[in-house]
C-alpha cells in the first residue's frame, strides 16, 4: 500500500515539475520550479538549441543544471525563493551547433554558430556574421517568449554542444548563449550582473571603440573617501587608492582599473565576478544585485484586510497581516504601528487590533517590512523597505446614562450621551433579567433626553440602552 502511495506521489511530483505547459506550433513551456506567481517572481527562462525531439529530457536536465548553478552563487543563493524557472523546449532537426572553421554545420532551430566573427569560442545566434537575419535567430527567441512566457526577466540559451563556448549580449532578450560546458554558468552569472544590476565590467583591458565612461554601481572615478559610493564598505584603515596586493584581497577599497582601462577608474575589490571568472561577486556588486532584485519585487507579497479604508463599529478585534517574501536563511523584519507609533512587541506578520484601544475617530495602522540583510549597507532609496497603511475610522458605540432624576409626579428622566451611529433602544426591567423595549432613538448632538411617565405602579425600575437597536 505504502509502495503504491509512494509511486503515485512520485508520479504526481514528476508530472508537476516537468509537465509541459502551453505549447506553440514550435515550442513547449516547462516549469522547472515555481515559487510564486510570475508577476511576483523573477522569471528565468532557458531556451533549447541543438536538441532533437528525442533529447527533450536531456535539455530539461541541462536547463535545470544551468539554473541551479546560477542560483547556487551568492547573493542569488539567499534569494532563490524570489525566482521561478521555466524551460522552453523547441526541437532542432540535428543536435549540436555549427563549427564553420572545421566545416561542421548542423540544422538547428536558432541557427547557432561557434567561430562567430572568427573567434572559435564565440557562440552566437543570428544576426551574426554568418547569417544576418533577425528572424532566423533572435527573432525566434522573441516570438517564443511572447507566446509562452511574456513575463520573462532573465533569458538564457543552452546549446547542446560540449565544445567550450558562449557569449553574453546586452542586446536582445537573451542575456547569454552558452554551450553545455563548465564555463556556461560563469558566463551566465557574469551577464546577470549587467542585466539585473547594471554593473560595469571591472576588467582593465580592451576599451571598446566609442565607449562612454560613466559612474556605475561598481566603478567610480571618485577617490575622496566620503564621496565614494561604496564607502559604507570601506574600513577607515584601508588605504585609498588601495594597492593591488594579495594582502588586500579581502578588503573593499578603491582598486585602480575598471571599465576596460587600467587607470582613472576604480573598482571595489581586487577580484570579483565582474572582473574574472571563477570568483564570487564582491560585497559591493552583491549589494547592488540584492537592491536590483528589490527594485523589481516588493517585500510584501500580499496583505489583509485587502481594503485599506476600514470603518469599525464594534469592539471585535481586527487582524491585520502581511505576507512577505522569504529569503533562504533569514526572515524579513516586520513592525506594526498605530498612529505612527511602533507597537511594542508587534513584530509578527499578523497584528490584532482591539478597536477599544483607540478612541473614536480617524487612525492609521501601518505594517512595515524590511530586509535587514547584512548584504546591503547602503539603501538610500529604501528598496528593501515596504509599508502598507490602513486608514481606520473607529466609530464604536459608547453610551452612558447620566443626569438621572426623579420628577414629580411619577416621572423619571435621564440623558443618554455618547456615540451610537446606528441608533439605540432604551430598555427597562424590574429584575435585571427580563427587559422590555421602551423606545428606539438616535442621538442628536451626542445626547438624548428621555422621560418615563406614569411610574406610580413601580417600586423599582432598571434602565439600559442597547445599540444597535
Amino acid at each position: 500500500m505504502m509502495s503504491r502511495l509512494f509511486r503515485l506521489c512520485l508520479l504526481v511530483w514528476l508530472a508537476v515539475i516537468w509537465w509541459p505547459q502551453p505549447t506553440t506550433a514550435q515550442g513547449t513551456l516547462y516549469s522547472l520550479f515555481t515559487n510564486g506567481p510570475s508577476v511576483k517572481r523573477l522569471n528565468i527562462v532557458v531556451l533549447a538549441e541543438g536538441y532533437t525531439t528525442n533529447q527533450a529530457g536531456l535539455f530539461l536536465y541541462d536547463a535545470t543544471n544551468a539554473v541551479n548553478n546560477l542560483l547556487a552563487q551568492p547573493p542569488y543563493q539567499e534569494y532563490k525563493m524570489y525566482f521561478n524557472a521555466y524551460a522552453i523546449f523547441v526541437a532542432s532537426t540535428e543536435s549540436g551547433s555549427d563549427h564553420p572553421i572545421s566545416g561542421t554545420f548542423k540544422n538547428t532551430y536558432f541557427n547557432s554558430s561557434f567561430d562567430s566573427y572568427g573567434i572559435p569560442q564565440l557562440l552566437t545566434i543570428p544576426p551574426n556574421n554568418y547569417n544576418g537575419s533577425y528572424s532566423q535567430g533572435q527573432g525566434r527567441v522573441d516570438m517564443l517568449l511572447a507566446a509562452l512566457m511574456p513575463e520573462f526577466d532573465l533569458v538564457l540559451m543552452v546549446v547542446n554542444d560540449p565544445e567550450y563556448g558562449g557569449s553574453g549580449s546586452d542586446s536582445g532578450s537573451a542575456i547569454a548563449v552558452t554551450s553545455v560546458n563548465l564555463f556556461a554558468s560563469e558566463i551566465v552569472a557574469h551577464e546577470t550582473g549587467h542585466a539585473l544590476g547594471g554593473l560595469a565590467d571591472e576588467y582593465d583591458y580592451g576599451p571598446p571603440a566609442g565607449h562612454v565612461w560613466t559612474e556605475k554601481p561598481n566603478a567610480t572615478a571618485v577617490t575622496n573617501h566620503p564621496l565614494v559610493k561604496w564607502n559604507a564598505w570601506i574600513l577607515g584603515s584601508t588605504p585609498l587608492p588601495t594597492p593591488e596586493s594579495s594582502e588586500n584581497a579581502a578588503l573593499v577599497g578603491l582598486f585602480q582599473g575598471a571599465q576596460y582601462v587600467a587607470s582613472g577608474w576604480y573598482r571595489p575589490k581586487l577580484d570579483c565576478k565582474m572582473k574574472s571568472f571563477f570568483t564570487g561577486f564582491c560585497e559591493v556588486c552583491s549589494e547592488q544585485l540584492v537592491k536590483s532584485i528589490y527594485a523589481r519585487l516588493r517585500p510584501i507579497e500580499s496583505f489583509t484586510p485587502a481594503t485599506t479604508n476600514l470603518t469599525l463599529h464594534n469592539t471585535q478585534a481586527v487582524t491585520f497581516s502581511v505576507a512577505t517574501l522569504q529569503p533562504l536563511t533569514h526572515s524579513l523584519g516586520v513592525q506594526w504601528f498605530t498612529n505612527n507609533v511602533a507597537v511594542t512587541g508587534a513584530t509578527n506578520p499578523t497584528f490584532n487590533l482591539t478597536p477599544m484601544s483607540l478612541a473614536n475617530g480617524s487612525h492609521t495602522v501601518k505594517g512595515t517590512v524590511n530586509d535587514a540583510t547584512v548584504l546591503v549597507r547602503n539603501d538610500p532609496s529604501g528598496l528593501l523597505w515596504q509599508t502598507n497603511i490602513w486608514n481606520l475610522t473607529i466609530s464604536l458605540n459608547d453610551l452612558a446614562l447620566v443626569s438621572a432624576r426623579y420628577l414629580n409626579p411619577d416621572r423619571f428622566r435621564f440623558t443618554v450621551t455618547g456615540n451610537a451611529p446606528a441608533g439605540f433602544v432604551i430598555q427597562v426591567s424590574t429584575n435585571l433579567l427580563n427587559w422590555t423595549a421602551l423606545s428606539t432613538n438616535t442621538l442628536s448632538g451626542g445626547s438624548y433626553d428621555f422621560t418615563n411617565s406614569n411610574l406610580s405602579n413601580f417600586t423599582r425600575r432598571y434602565y439600559r440602552t442597547v445599540s444597535p437597536p
Partner: protein, 162 residues
C-alpha cells in the same frame, strides 16, 4: 475489485489533473481580463528612422524597469494624451551589439567584441495601458565633444495599434 480499480484510477487521474493544472495557473497568473504586455517588433533604418514591423499583445504584467537613469542605449517611453510619462525603460543600442566572451587562454580572460549592426531589428515590451497614446523612442547623443548630451528622437509609435 473492478469497481475498486476503476475508482482508484479515476482518483489518480483527478489528482494528476489537479496537480498539473495548479502550477500552470498559479505560476503564470494570467487571465484574459488582467493586465497585458505589448510586444513591439521594430527596425532602425540607415537614415536612423524607426519602423514598427509588427506587434502582439499578450497577457501579463511587466515589473518596474530598473537602471533607467542611464544615458546609454535607446530609451522608450509610454505617454498619455497629456504627454505624461507612464512607463520608461532603456535597452542597449541595437545598432551596436556587444558580445562578451571568454578567450582561449588558460586564464579564460573575459573579452568584448563590438559589432556594428546594419538595419537592426529588435523587440521591446511595454505595458498595454488604455490611457497610453504613444511610445516615444529616443537616445542621448553628444553633438560635439564635451558638450552635454542631447535627447534625440528616433521615432514614435502611436497607440492603440490597429
Amino acid at each position: 475489485m473492478t469497481t475498486k480499480r476503476a475508482l482508484r484510477t479515476s482518483m489518480t487521474t483527478a489528482v494528476l489533473l489537479a496537480a498539473l493544472w495548479w502550477p500552470t495557473a498559479v505560476a503564470r497568473g494570467q487571465t484574459n481580463d488582467g493586465p497585458k504586455i505589448l510586444f513591439l517588433h521594430l527596425k532602425i533604418h540607415p537614415d536612423k528612422t524607426l519602423q514598427l514591423l509588427s506587434s502582439i499583445k499578450r497577457p501579463g504584467e511587466l515589473k518596474p524597469p530598473a537602471n533607467t537613469d542611464t544615458t546609454e542605449g535607446i530609451h522608450y517611453e509610454l505617454r498619455d494624451a497629456e504627454g505624461k510619462s507612464l512607463w520608461h525603460a532603456a535597452i542597449a543600442d541595437p545598432e551596436r551589439r556587444t558580445l562578451e566572451h571568454a578567450d582561449n587562454s588558460p586564464a579564460r580572460k573575459m573579452k568584448q567584441l563590438h559589432v556594428a549592426m546594419s538595419e537592426p531589428e529588435f523587440m521591446v515590451r511595454v505595458p498595454a495601458r488604455t490611457n497610453a497614446v504613444e511610445v516615444e523612442f529616443y537616445r542621448f547623443t553628444a553633438t560635439t565633444t564635451n558638450q552635454p548630451l542631447k535627447k534625440v528622437r528616433l521615432g514614435m509609435v502611436p497607440l492603440p495599434l490597429k
